[in-house]
């Protein structure tokens, strides 16, 4: 009789794996961006163009953007001031999410601050062996490639720095600015990387639609798309068009207590982690519209009873002192006027009409409406335009289909960002169906919302939230 060996139980080891891998898997990138892999080419264009236009506006120059797509990548070139070295360093720190916007309230294109991080991960997921992000600024190219250490399951970055190298085929027009290229290895002719290696041409509509969206919502932007050698350009209709700049002071009226606490908390945390001179409440007030003068700052501080107070005094250990912050916010609102909706920037009828004509609409069919209002201190501008394709008026089925351009804060959505609103939650497309503007109609429809307090449902800014407070 053979002895029955007693089974030795498995003693499981609790392995620690790096959280960094969250940014380097398809599943996590989809969650981070709000877009499926098939939408990533559009996502790359959107994130890069948003950043490029913002940078130009902050520098006070009329943006000129070149987007190029070829068999091994997508690149975006701008005439802005370039990307600071520190920003690039922070991009590679995946332990934290770096954002210059998240805690702020303002009518900005992006608000999540994870754009460049996402773009570092995409080429790795698409092409683990050859994928890389190339950032060229001030004549210096940095190639950032991520490689997985099979043993540690950690991502290791290979950063190559090379002077005066332009991996991006750029125009010599731009002496300054930056070029960012998301690159993967050359694919078989005509294919772009996706889970099924789709032909690149199948993304053309998505990318062209985005480029048109930028042209539609930004009268001051000249934007060019180079699509496998073919060129499509939209010249600015008003290079001097004025809008609320991304780095313009915020208005106190755009904040409620939780948002103000979030901002003050972020400042205090930054001071604690990075050191530096303690910011006073007056320094803090200087960042707000209407509170730039020291006289007004003094008056606000006096009303709030915060004389000789540092911002860090508004927290005690890990707890924010809500009563003081609430008093400060009330004084700030009392001493400033709400921002008039017109100051946000109205795209305007003329620009919409010009662009819709460029998109093939018959001039007489174009209609435009605008709603501007101030709601509890929050300015809001909604503009909409509609036109019918010229060819579809004369002939019956010309194959023309409905084109929707929907955008928020001068940035077009890859997908319609107004996907759910109204009493039945029908959203924009449902409403358009009800208005007999179905998907097969030969029309162009555009809608744009500008507001400093827009909440997105996802980090890819693909859908805005019309929460109960909006409804």
């Amino acid at each position: 009789m053979s002895a029955v060996l007693a089974e030795r139980p498995l003693a499981r080891t609790a392995f620690a794996t790096s959280r960094e891998m969250d940014f380097f898997s398809e599943k996590e990138l989809v969650a981070q961006s709000g877009h499926k892999r098939d939408e990533w080419p559009g996502l790359i264009v959107k994130e890069l163009v948003d950043n490029a236009v913002d940078a130009c506006e902050e520098a006070g120059v009329a943006p000129r953007i070149q987007v190029a797509a070829d068999e091994s990548g997508i690149s975006v070139l701008d005439n802005g001031p370039g990307i600071p070295e520190m920003t690039l360093e922070k991009v590679l720190d995946f332990r934290v999410r770096v954002s210059s916007r998240e805690a702020y309230c303002g009518p900005t294109r992006g608000a999540q601050g994870n754009a460049l991080k996402t773009l570092v991960g995409i080429p790795f997921v698409v092409d683990p062996k050859r994928g890389r992000l190339v950032v060229t600024t001030a004549g210096v190219a940095r190639s950032i490639a991520c490689r997985l250490n099979d043993v540690t399951q950690k991502v290791e970055f290979e950063v190559e720095r090379s002077e005066l190298i332009r991996p991006v085929k750029t125009s010599d027009l731009y002496k300054s600015g930056s070029a960012v290229r998301v690159e993967w290895g050359p694919m078989p002719a005509g294919l772009w990387p996706s889970s099924k290696s789709r032909p690149a041409s199948s993304w053309r509509g998505q990318i062209e639609s985005l480029i048109r969206g930028y042209a539609l919502f930004n009268p001051h932007v000249t934007i060019t798309l180079g699509w496998f050698g073919e060129r499509l350009e939209h010249v600015a209709t008003d290079a001097g068009w004025k809008k609320w700049r991304p780095n313009a002071p915020m208005s106190a009226h755009w904040f409620d207590l939780p948002r103000m606490e979030r901002l003050i908390g972020a400042y205090i945390n930054d001071e604690r982690e990075n050191g530096g001179a303690g910011r006073t409440v007056a320094d803090f007030l200087r960042e707000f519209d209407g509170l730039q003068r020291s006289r007004t700052q003094t008056a606000v501080i006096a009303r709030a009873g915060l004389k000789r107070t540092r911002l860090s005094d508004l927290a005690s250990g890990g707890t924010l002192r809500s009563v003081l912050i609430d008093r400060l916010l009330a004084a700030m609102k009392e001493m400033t006027k709400p921002v008039n909706p017109s100051r946000l920037g109205q795209i305007g009828k003329e620009h919409f009409e010009k662009r819709l004509r460029d998109f093939g609409c018959k001039a007489e069919t174009i209609t435009y409406k605008v709603i501007k209002r101030l709601d509890d201190g929050i300015p809001l501008v909604i503009e909409s335009a509609f036109g019918c394709a010229e060819s579809a008026l004369a002939a019956f089925d010309t194959g023309e289909r409905r084109r929707i351009y929907a955008g928020v804060n001068w940035s077009p959505g890859i997908k319609n960002p107004f996907r759910s609103f109204g009493q039945t939650g029908e959203g924009l497309e449902g409403l358009l169906e009800r208005q007999k503007v179905g998907a097969r109609e030969p029309v162009v429809f555009a809608v744009h919302l500008a507001s400093p307090r827009v909440q997105y449902a996802d980090r890819g800014k693909s859908s805005i939230v019309l929460t109960s407070e909006d409804e």
Partner: protein
């Protein structure tokens, strides 16, 4: 946000797609409506789109460069051609006057325009007997006159008071529209030709017929009639001086003329239309000409039967004045009215007396200027007004002054 962004989105989306939705619904009801889709967007230019381009030029033309007042309807006639050219459609008077022009006149650039509408209603002042017709220019003139006491020197009127045509006017000019009264006043048409101007809106009323019967009938003063060039204009002329056959047959005679009236037709005729290059407008021609219309030539009848007409309003203001003056001269109204020798003598003596009285008045005013006012003047006035509330304050004051003078008289 306390407001609803959802509601805003819904409003704006339905707003921009409204026209399309209407068309598509029509297509769903009737597939033939699909063929109307191109015409729905046929490059239609709205009247409002071109109003700011057309109206200033039309006003300048109709008013002689802004020098004369213009009636709504005259401005309409000056503007309707350009509107047709720009939009390809005829503009209707009702829309023009009530909507387009009314909105345009709100603009700062039209603030100085003298566009008149027929007065509707009257302002009556107490005690003064002043009656102001509620019309644009009349009210403007009243408002510009300043308020309070008239501080001009007391003077007897230098004129020789008359009532009726004798020694005052030599003819009646009847105009079938009221809109020209302001223009006539501006160019002093009545004064320069010693004419009484009588106007009605369209057909004359019984009172007008009675007036011309008394003043112009049986060898009275001449009657001149200005009317549009249309079938209605000719009947206005006839009905002002005689009873129409239709009224007699239908036993609807409103006024029976007692005298035969020799009226002169100064109305717009085909030759005038050609001479002044006036643009006809389309109208519906119904029925036919009556027997009395032997005044109308065959060419004119043919023109009118085509469904065309020309209004006096088709003239610009300067042209209208020139047209009327020319017609008056042809009709023999050339020299100013001068009365007979007896009237002249009486008036001359009266003029001397007035000059003397006016001199005395001036001296009396100088003396009165030095008077000391009674301390109880206000209290006395209040008391008097309490006793006679129907009196104006100045009449009561006069009585107080009279009493004081009597008391102080030696």
């Amino acid at each position: 946000m306390s407001g609803s962004l959802s509601a805003d989105l819904e409003t704006i989306v339905t707003g921009v797609t409204k026209k399309w939705t209407k068309q598509r619904k029509a297509e769903e009801r009737d597939s033939r409506a699909r063929f109307r889709r191109p015409s729905m967007y046929s490059g239609r230019v709205n009247f409002t789109d071109v109003a700011s381009e057309i109206l200033p030029a039309a006003y300048a033309k109709a008013s002689g460069g802004g020098t004369l007042p213009v009636a709504n309807r005259q401005l309409f006639y000056a503007a309707r051609g350009p509107f047709q050219e720009k939009t390809g459609r005829e503009i209707e008077y009702g829309y023009f006057a009530q909507n387009l022009l009314r909105k345009y006149l709100q603009r700062p650039e039209a603030a100085s325009w003298k566009v008149t509408a027929d007065p509707r209603g009257t302002l009556i002042e107490p005690h003064t007997g002043i009656r102001v017709p509620v019309g644009t220019l009349e009210i403007d003139s009243y408002l510009e006159g300043g308020w309070g006491q008239d501080r001009r020197d007391l003077q007897l009127d230098q004129g020789c008071p008359t009532r009726g045509p004798r020694d005052r006017y030599r003819a009646i000019l009847y105009i079938e529209k009221e809109g020209f009264n302001e223009l006539a006043r501006a160019v002093r048409l009545a004064e320069r030709y010693d004419l009484a101007i009588l106007s009605c809106k369209g057909q004359s009323v019984v009172a007008a017929r009675k007036l011309v019967d008394r003043l112009c009938g049986g060898g009275g003063i001449p009657l001149f009639v200005l009317h549009d060039f249309d079938k209605y204009g000719f009947s206005i002329f006839q009905n002002l001086v005689s009873v129409s056959c239709a009224a007699e047959d239908g036993e609807r005679v409103a006024y029976v003329f007692k005298n035969e009236i020799q009226a002169v037709d100064l109305g717009l005729r085909l030759l005038d239309v050609e001479e002044w290059k006036l643009k006809p407008e389309r109208c519906r021609f119904t029925g036919d000409f009556d027997l009395y219309d032997d005044n109308v030539t065959d060419a004119e009848k043919a023109f009118l039967r085509k469904g065309q007409r020309v209004e006096l309003n088709a003239f610009t203001s300067p042209d209208f004045v020139a047209f009327v003056e020319k017609k008056l001269k042809v009709a023999g109204i050339r020299e100013k009215l001068v009365p007979d020798n007896k009237t002249l003598g009486d008036a001359y003596r009266r003029a001397h007396a007035i000059a003397e009285i006016n001199g005395l008045v001036k001296a009396a005013r100088t003396r009165a200027a030095g008077l000391t006012l009674p301390r109880t003047l206000r209290a006395a006035l209040k008391k008097s007004l309490k006793e006679h509330p129907e009196k104006p304050w100045d009449a009561a004051l006069y009585e107080i002054a009279l009493k004081v003078r009597r008391r102080c008289a030696p």
